[in-house]
């Protein structure tokens, strides 16, 4: 029996499609052992006292949502469960909408959390590094109002927050420049605020050097796998990263099976050819 290469390709496409689709509909919930960098980030949030104010910066656009949005949700979930207050900022123009989405996703689980008391969305500011430096001098100067136009001094949770120094930790979810790098260089290196964060899997290796003895970056979530690990650490049932990671893992496994089948096929064809050659010789 032989299948034409075209049919073969179609089978591959279909099987892959199903392999990604099914785990999204019916999550398997594979738990993976968490890696040290994820545990570092988790520990930073875990150990900050209740009442701390944290910044979650949405430095990405919808194109990287698949990987970064679950991280944002998981980190806000964790912060709220520890009684922290969350300020959302954005160095990318589409960030504020994504922040709203993340807060909305958690509103069911935390109905008691109030805007202005437990969280606030300050919106987008251009400038990257320069903006962060300015926030180190005065938050009001950079953000006179939040996204809704409320003056900052009218927002209860910001009563005691004047500069970046009043922030317990910063988590930047970033898919490029400006992003984590700018937060590390401005917020950590100049004002000594602990910085953690997450990136897409592709760009994660570039940030690992910042996780060093100077603690420039405290842990890092790289891609979906790390997001799923974080969800695992905070005991988030059926988190979206865990479901997506199931899809990922099944797809990876499937590709490996494809490689194995491909090799088997070549090996079998070779053997058939050899036996035919032998027969001809005889």
């Amino acid at each position: 029996m032989s299948i034409s290469p075209q049919t073969e390709r179609r089978i591959i496409y279909l099987v892959l499609f199903l392999a990604v689709l099914l785990p999204l509909l019916f999550p398997i919930g594979w738990r993976t052992e968490s890696s040290p960098h994820v545990r570092m980030a988790h520990k930073l949030v875990e150990q900050s006292p209740a009442g701390s104010v944290a910044i979650v910066s949405f430095d990405y656009d919808p194109a990287s949502m698949t990987e970064l949005q679950p991280m944002a949700v998981a980190m806000i979930d964790h912060a709220w469960s520890k009684g922290h207050k969350v300020i959302a900022t954005a160095l990318w123009p589409q960030g504020p909408q994504l922040a709203d989405q993340a807060f909305r996703a958690l509103s069911e689980k935390y109905p008691e959390k109030q805007y202005g008391v437990d969280y606030v969305n300050l919106g987008y500011k251009v400038g990257g590094m320069v903006t962060i430096q300015a926030m180190g001098r005065s938050l009001v100067e950079v953000y006179p109002t939040d996204t809704g136009g409320t003056a900052l001094n009218q927002i209860p949770m910001l009563a005691k927050v004047n500069t970046l120094r009043d922030i317990a930790y910063i988590s930047s979810l970033s898919s490029g420049d400006p992003g984590i790098k700018q937060w590390v260089m401005a917020a950590h290196d100049m004002y000594n605020v602990p910085v953690t964060g997450g990136t897409t899997a592709i760009s994660a290796p570039g940030f690992i050097p910042y996780i060093n003895s100077q603690n420039q970056l405290i842990g890092l979530l790289g891609g979906l796998k790390a997001a799923a690990e974080y969800e695992g650490l905070i005991g988030m049932e059926n988190g979206s990263a865990t479901a997506k990671m199931d899809s990922q893992s099944v797809a990876h496994l499937l590709i490996l099976i494809f490689i194995a089948i491909g090799n088997y096929k070549v090996w079998r064809n070779k053997r058939i050819k050899r036996t035919q050659d032998l027969k001809e010789e005889i």
Binding site: Q6, S138, M190
Partner: protein
């Protein structure tokens, strides 16, 4: 002229500084060899005290800039404008006393970035080598360049397209003409168009940017002219699709499936779309040759194409194909550069191992 005072700086003592009870002393220096955008604020002898640096804003109100408990140190204030005067207050507070001083300074522009000396030297040495080899080649010196795998297949691919009576597809990458890879691609296109004109095979060149379109039309037209087949040149075969990355790819996919070109060439700068092109091309059964210096996309071309020009081979290809002495000379110059770099790396490893950091620093200061 103010700028002549390269290393000199104006700084004045303003206001009444508190009597210097402690040892702490402050100084502001211009940041050397820059465009006048930074100042170095230094302090000394402040052991046991906390040093705070403040900067005056336009309303002459001081804001904190930096804090430190080091006895001696410096802070660089950046993103300043040249020749503007800035005021700083530096305060050292210890349990026993406190010292405060207001200083003014202007950042000054200089005429050379001294840190870029190694950069300039490397540039001069490599450029000189390239030019010398080009000169030698022009004077008729025979320069040897080894065979580049994959290039010989180019003629084979054109031959097959001719046999089948199918067109050739040439994709000059997805970067604009400001990417050198695109220009290298134009040189290869010129060679290919010449062959295509000789064999009388259609050559389809879809372009992503208007400037690439202009250049590609010039190049193809001239090749047809040189081959004496200007009558066979069809301007509508070199056309624009769209500036959009994936829109462009969708268009090319359509061409591959409908026109069924017998040979595909992907030469130039490619990003994520490389695999979409190469796999669609493979499914149509075309002979595929790719070449790019985008290291991240090479794996996909290597896996899906019949031949791949890796990295510098793309630039070497045009020299090898044209046998033009100037291009060959240039290639020899690059080779000299490679040997030089291998040598420098080895020297660097030795000096680093011996603990002498000046060698690496000399090259590393550029960044």
């Amino acid at each position: 002229m103010r700028s002549l005072g390269i290393f000199c700086l104006v700084f004045m003592l303003l206001g009444l500084a508190l009597p210097l009870m402690g040892e702490a002393s402050f100084e502001i220096k211009d940041f050397p060899h820059d465009a006048g955008t930074a100042l170095n604020l230094e302090w000394k002898g402040a052991s046991g005290s906390t040093v705070t640096i403040q900067k005056a804003d336009s309303m002459q109100v001081f804001h904190e800039l930096h804090q430190s408990t080091d006895a001696e140190g410096s802070f660089t204030d950046t993103e300043l404008s040249p020749d503007e005067t800035y005021r700083y207050r530096m305060i050292a507070v210890s349990e026993a006393d406190s010292v405060s001083q207001v200083l003014e300074a202007q950042p000054v522009e200089q005429w050379f970035y001294l840190d870029k000396l190694s950069f300039l030297l490397m540039l001069i040495v490599i450029s000189a080598a390239i030019l010398l080899y080009i000169y030698a080649a022009k004077r008729g010196k025979d320069l040897f360049v080894r065979r580049i795998n994959g290039l010989d297949s180019m003629d084979e691919a054109i031959g097959r397209a001719t046999e089948k009576g199918k067109p050739i597809l040439y994709v000059p990458g997805i970067s604009d003409l400001d990417d050198i890879q695109t220009i290298a691609s134009m040189t290869i296109l010129s060679h290919l168009a010449h062959k295509a004109a000789e064999y009388d095979t259609d050559l389809i060149v879809p372009c992503r940017f208007s400037m690439v379109l202009s250049a590609a039309r010039e190049v193809v037209r001239e090749s047809y002219l040189k081959a004496g087949r200007l009558d066979a040149y069809k301007e509508s075969n070199v056309f624009y699709l769209t500036d959009d990355q994936f829109g462009y790819v969708a268009g090319i996919d359509g061409i591959m499936v409908r026109e069924q070109p017998a040979a595909n060439f992907f030469m130039g700068s490619f990003y994520a779309e490389s695999l979409i092109l190469a796999e669609t091309g493979f499914s149509t059964g075309a002979i595929q040759t790719a070449g790019t210096a985008q290291a991240h996309q090479l794996p996909f071309f290597v896996v899906s194409c019949d031949y791949t020009l890796i990295g510098e081979e793309l630039f070497a290809a045009s020299a090898y194909l044209s046998k033009d002495p100037q291009q060959l000379g240039s290639l020899k110059g690059h080779d000299f550069g490679k040997l030089l770099i291998i040598l420098l790396i080895l020297c660097g490893i030795v000096t680093e191992s011996l603990g002498w950091s000046w060698f690496k620093d000399f090259f590393g200061k550029v960044f």
